[in-house]
């Protein structure tokens, strides 16, 4: 089963040149090394609101066992560890929070692969929805959620690319990342279509989700 690794990096001082420094360091040093070991970077985004200079990286691994192997090989790689002084010498301070996420049963990895293969002509905005799945009736909530995501996708107003449940942090949290095309009315995830019949039922178990908009960075495979 696919696992996703979310790395959230806060870069300080809060100035754009700090972000430039980080991107330079990451793309020329860390990213090639991680790639060599088997970390598959699928997305790199910057939030369009909230804390400044917060970057989210998302890596894909085919299974938890594979992830553990790759992680261990990176940890034992002297060449990779030799990169650390470069970060320490840079005029920036990084705070990185790494969270492993397991994918829910209804997650379809083919959707992520499909999105990775797309080269959009227009800029696309991504949306990160954080849903609190109730402990009681989680299975039902997941089922309703999967169905609603499907409705939104069918209406062409939302294209899911990833869904994962972090193994640390708030219990029952589910993160869904999708593409939210430009120019749509903002009141729903689908383009002007009426609410799907089971949305109301979903709202009974998941009344409200947190939503953040993500802008892909130039080196992000998901564009």
């Amino acid at each position: 089963m696919t696992v996703l690794l979310e790395a959230t990096v806060d870069i300080k001082p809060i100035a754009a040149r700090s972000l430039d420094h980080f991107i330079e360091l990451y793309t020329t040093n860390e990213a090639p090394e991680l790639d060599r070991h088997g970390y598959e970077l699928v997305g790199a985004w910057r939030r369009s609101g909230g804390p400044l200079n917060r970057i989210t990286h998302l890596y894909r691994f085919e299974s938890l066992a594979r992830y553990v192997d790759i992680r261990d090989s990176v940890r034992g790689d002297a060449r990779f560890l030799a990169l650390m002084p470069k970060y320490l010498e840079a005029p920036i301070t990084l705070t990185e929070v790494i969270t492993l996420g397991t994918t829910p049963a209804w997650y379809d990895d083919a959707k992520l692969s499909k999105a990775l293969g797309e080269s959009p002509a227009e800029p696309r905005q991504y949306v990160l929805a954080i849903v609190q799945i109730p402990m009681k009736g989680a299975a039902k909530a997941h089922e309703l959620l999967a169905r609603n995501v499907g409705h939104a996708e069918d209406a062409g107003g939302f294209q899911m690319v990833a869904a994962y449940e972090p193994v640390a942090g708030r219990r029952g949290e589910l993160k869904v990342i999708g593409i939210f095309p430009m120019g749509l009315p903002p009141m729903a995830y689908q383009a002007g279509a009426p609410d799907p019949p089971d949305l109301e039922i979903l709202r009974e178990v998941v009344p409200e989700e947190e939503v953040y908009y993500l802008n892909p960075l130039p080196y992000s495979p998901l564009q």
Partner: protein, 758 residues
């Protein structure tokens, strides 16, 4: 209005959505055209205004001081009267110093207690100067304050003759100190406003020359009364008090000419002449700055702040100087008290011709370029530092005397030199505050730091070491003054632009022209050293709905902070309904109708929903009925909040918390509502509900500025959009046009993340 920052993409047309009515479109365009007109005229007028302010760019054609004085309409009287007052002001403190042993003996007060009383007096001088500045800030009452305080210190000097205990002594010293605050705060601003700019350096030099004469004359007068007439200390105080009263009576005809009679008023006349207008109309909002707003404003002027720091550094050396100086003369050169006094008096006497020279030489320099005046002051300060080093290390008595005399002489021009530059870059009604704060930096910050520092050096290296070490602060101050030169012209132009802009707006109002309700012009803003806004222009008209979009960190929230008063710009202006509110407190802007809903759930978590709403209401008015009506309106708009009225706000969902924050609009009913990141972290459906309410608020006449992270959301709602990137406005136009600009969107979303904010 200039459409974008840095002149890019000027001339926006059709800013309103097609559904907006034609009359409203025409009104908005008219407002923008009016502001464009202001921009062009302002640039033209700046040079002429500089000339009116006494800076012509060349030294030729400088009128003689006599001609300047005649042109002033007050003749020599103000100059002489203030000069006289600054002379007699020093009587009390000199007499106190000289008679310290006799006073100590008569009243049974220890030496250290007397020293403490002197410190209290100095504190009184500093602390009294600020309320005096506050008293004169709205009405020109500087002459009145000068006269009253002159009688104050005269009576204090007289009463010194009758003190019988420590409390009486404390009282007269405090009264003397407090009344001397006027010398600090109002004398030089009054002098500057009494004479045309072409003669101000000379007038200030004359005044400070009188101060130097006071320093020489005061001990002589004391000596004369005590020595020649054999008076006791009480008799001397009484006699000097009488002289002070006579001087105060002689100054009774002092008049305040008003703020900026020879500079601001003339510039305003020029603006009216240029526009062919005969009159102008004040904006219908009260935007007069209060005391703290003025202080904050003054401290935002780079020239003033740098010179204050230089002043404090000079104070480190100068304030405790005399204590070490007399010990040095005694220990190193074994000079008797009489010889020391004579030396000081004669050395100070050289300041008088030095100031006369400075007046003559400095005036054309200032006229040519104020930077040159600062260069001269920096140079003489540095030379003073060298002289101090020579004096401290000299093995020859004559060389020591010459070097110290040169030090006193060179430093005497600091006061008129820095005073002239500092007072020139602040608006006239803020000059008393500027002068008062200068004293606080000098004697308060610098003096205290200097005493602590030099005492330590003295203990380690002796008096000679302490005297020698004083070169360091002097050299640093000289360097700082030198470095300040680059800011002077910029600050001067900024002040001129403010005057010109205010008058132009008043002319347009007088002509009945329509101006934007809210207009930000050429805004620069920095967080410390990091500049985040660059030359931003932004307008909102009555009832408009405007979106402010852009990448994270583009400066959107910062611009809202500048508009609402939570942040003060380092350049540029904010006008609201024709009045300048750039430096007005956020609280007062709230009263005018500018309300901001900050990003990130602007609620008080530990309070209930209804208490949160009451807090919003009470920040504006204490009328319970009006607040209750606003709360009812909020609950009618958001029934979910009504259901949770007694629930703690922290327990609400994200959407409900944002609804609660939006309740502010229903209670305060602002003219313009600034909403920062309404949709942050909220589900689209909740955002949809909130936007409906925003629409409703707008329909009721409130203009909306919506800072949004989501283009989708903003464009579904507004007529007019601004797009910011790297602290600059990159797009200003019809909201729907943005969707036709994928280049811009791609640039903003993708490149924006890699290129930095600048």
């Amino acid at each position: 209005m200039a459409a974008t920052s840095n002149g890019r993409g000027r001339g926006r047309k059709g800013v309103l959505a097609p559904q907006a009515d034609a009359a409203h479109v025409e009104k908005v365009h008219e407002a923008e055209a009016a502001v464009d007109e202001l921009e062009e005229r302002q640039a033209r007028l700046r040079l002429r205004a500089r000339s009116i302010m006494g800076i012509t760019g060349h030294a030729e054609g400088l009128p003689r001081l006599r001609e300047v004085v005649q042109a002033s309409g007050v003749g020599w009287y103000t100059l002489v009267a203030l000069g006289l007052l600054v002379i007699v002001d020093q009587f009390q403190v000199f007499a106190f110093f000289i008679f310290a042993p006799e006073i100590s003996h008569a009243l049974g007060v220890s030496k250290s207690l007397l020293a403490f009383l002197i410190i209290l007096r100095t504190l009184a001088v500093m602390l009294a100067s600020l309320p005096m500045a506050a008293y004169v800030q709205t009405r020109p009452r500087r002459a009145q304050v000068s006269k009253v305080t002159a009688f104050g210190w005269s009576i204090a000097t007289l009463l010194s003759a009758f003190v019988i205990n420590i409390w009486g002594l404390l009282l007269v010293l405090l009264a003397d100190g407090a009344s001397t605050g006027s010398v600090q705060a109002v004398h030089t601003p009054l002098l500057v406003d009494s004479y045309p700019p072409e003669g101000r350096v000379r007038a200030l030099s004359f005044y400070h020359g009188a101060g130097a004469i006071g320093s020489v004359v005061s001990p002589l007068v004391v000596g004369l009364f005590a020595g020649l007439f054999g008076m006791t200390w009480r008799g001397v105080f009484f006699a000097m008090g009488i002289i002070c009263v006579i001087a105060s009576v002689m100054a009774l005809r002092l008049k305040d000419p008003g703020f900026g009679k020879f500079d601001v008023d003339k510039v305003q006349e020029e603006v009216r002449r240029d526009a062919g207008a005969t009159s102008s109309v004040e904006a219908d909002v009260n935007v007069e700055l209060g005391f703290y707003e003025i202080v904050r404003r003054v401290l935002l002027i780079p020239t003033v702040v740098r010179l204050y720091i230089a002043w404090a550094i000079v104070g480190m050396m100068a304030a405790p100087f005399y204590s070490f100086f007399f010990f040095f003369l005694d220990e190193r050169w074994h000079m008797s008290p009489g010889a020391r006094s004579l030396f000081l008096a004669s050395a100070l006497a050289f300041s008088v011709p030095a100031l006369a020279w400075f007046g003559k030489r400095g005036e054309p320099m200032f006229r040519e370029d104020p930077q040159r005046l600062l260069s001269l002051v920096a140079l003489t300060t540095a030379l003073g530092a060298v002289a101090l080093a020579v004096a401290a290390g000299s093995p020859f008595f004559v060389l020591m005397v010459v070097a110290f005399t040169f030090l006193f002489t060179s430093l005497s021009i600091l006061l008129p030199g820095l005073g002239m530059v500092t007072l020139s870059v602040v608006p006239p009604n803020m000059r008393p505050h500027t002068a008062a704060m200068g004293g606080i930096f000098y004697a308060g910050l610098g003096g205290i730091a200097g005493v602590l520092l030099l005492n330590g050096i003295d203990r380690r290296f002796g008096t000679g070491g302490a005297i020698t070490s004083m070169c360091v602060p002097l050299l640093i101050a000289a360097w700082l003054i030198w470095r300040t030169r680059q800011h002077v012209n910029h600050d001067l132009d900024r002040m001129i632009d403010e005057i010109v802009e205010r008058e132009e707006i008043q002319i347009l109002l007088g002509e009945g022209r329509h101006l934007p309700m809210l207009s930000c012009r050429h805004i620069d803003f920095s967080y410390g050293q990091l500049q985040v806004l660059f030359d931003v222009n932004f307008t909102v008209d009555d009832g408009e709905m405007v979106a402010l979009l852009g990448t994270n960190g583009a400066g959107k929230s910062t611009l809202l902070r500048v508009i609402s008063g939570l942040g003060l710009p380092s350049r540029g202006s904010v006008h609201f309904r024709g009045g300048e509110v750039t430096y007005l407190d956020a609280e007062r802007r709230l009263g005018l109708g500018i309300t901001q809903i900050p990003g990130g759930r602007a609620i008080f978590g530990p309070m209930t929903v209804v208490d949160n709403l009451r807090v919003y209401g009470h920040s504006m008015t204490r009328q319970r009925r009006a607040v209750d009506a606003g709360i009812d309106a909020t609950f009618a708009a958001f029934p979910r909040l009504a259901e949770r009225r007694n629930q703690l706000a922290s327990t609400l969902s994200g959407g409900e918390q944002q609804m609660l924050a939006l309740g502010k609009a229903f209670i305060l009913k602002p003219r313009v509502l600034l909403i920062d990141e309404l949709s942050l972290g909220l589900a689209p459906k909740i955002v949809g509900e909130l936007l409906e309410m925003v629409r409703q608020v707008n329909t009721e006449g409130t203009a909306i500025v919506l800072v949004e992270q989501s283009v989708n959301i903003a464009l579904s709602l507004v007529d007019h959009a601004y797009f910011m990137e790297k602290g600059e406005i990159r797009f200003d136009g019809r909201a729907q046009e943005l969707l036709e600009r994928p280049d811009l969107l791609r640039s903003v979303f993708l490149e924006g993340a890699t290129k930095g904010l600048g």
